[in-house]
Symmetry: C2
Subunit: 155 residues, 2 copies
DNA sequence: CTGTGGATGTTGAGATCTCAAGCAATCGGG
DNA sequence: CCCGATTGCTTGAGATCTCAACATCCACAG
């Protein structure tokens, strides 16, 4: 019953697998080497830095960084040890926790960002033509839409 | 000095991050749920199943599955415990190890494959137009080329 | 023949991720 | 007001990944 991938689809799928693995491994390595920061943690800092007051509810932060609650909890715990994030209980809902970026955290992010952006340019944008960049954006959006819609109950 | 990402580039990059994270997390979850196999291990079985005699040198296997030697070593050790892969020393080079897919391993792969292919179709190919699938292939190839070339010494 | 450098894999420690279980606070129907 | 269901987040255990150190073997120059 299964519709197997034909030869072209195979090639495409494997190229995609290879590209994403190579790109993210490379960026992770660079970020780790230059800033002792895994990419996931970098992203948490970015999202916090953009939020008003540099603070977000854990759940909101999880959504914006496509992270599971559990992963985020562990990650923030580690960032808190580094003094880059502080946790506060939400005044209106005592279940809630608010993660707030500290000045040290902001400084760490500011130090890491230029190198990381260079890496993203070098490994993603530069190898692509402008049209391909546009296409990549559209493709990614389509995939995200498909997967997020599939979370919704179908009725 | 850093050329920051403009607004469009930001959107594209974040969509790409989100899409890949959602797609691979989803496929990983499905594979784990249905076959108790992380995606990386599944890929090792696939590569072995395609090789002549269903066997490959560790280094060749590492190259084809975009995996580090260390990761592969741990993974094959785990697959060997399951009885899905066997390791033999290479007759012509005593440093070398040959990983060979067992019949049980092949059966496990055969059981996992249909569901996984369905997932790939559902989460990657179906949401895209045929043109986008072609574009995705070209983009991925370009990224792979750029990163693999950058490994080579520049002189 | 020998020793040095390179290549192949493995290992162990530490970090991160996942899954499931758990706790605490809130919500909502009765 | 009260209790069961739900939400928000954390925790612990187990699995995987990374990095660096290591042991082994090959290749080749001297």
């Amino acid at each position: 019953m299964t519709r197997w991938l034909d030869e072209d689809e195979q090639r495409t799928w494997r190229a995609f697998l290879g590209a994403t693995r190579l790109v993210f491994d490379q960026l992770d390595r660079e970020l780790q080497r230059d800033s002792s920061l895994p990419h996931g943690y970098y992203e948490i800092l970015v999202r916090l830095s953009e939020a008003p007051e540099r603070a977000l509810r854990m759940s909101a932060l999880a959504d914006r960084s496509q992270s599971s609650r559990s992963r985020l909890s562990h990650a923030v715990a580690r960032l808190e040890e580094n003094g880059w994030v502080r946790r506060e209980t939400c005044p209106t809902d005592k279940r809630g926790q608010i993660a707030r970026l500290t000045d040290e955290g902001f400084a760490a992010l500011a130090a890491a960002a230029p190198g990381h952006v260079d890496g993203v340019r070098a490994h993603v944008f530069d190898p692509l033509t402008p049209e391909q960049v546009v296409q990549l954006g559209e493709i990614s959006t389509a995939l995200v839409d498909a997967l997020q819609r599939s979370d919704d109950p179908p009725c």
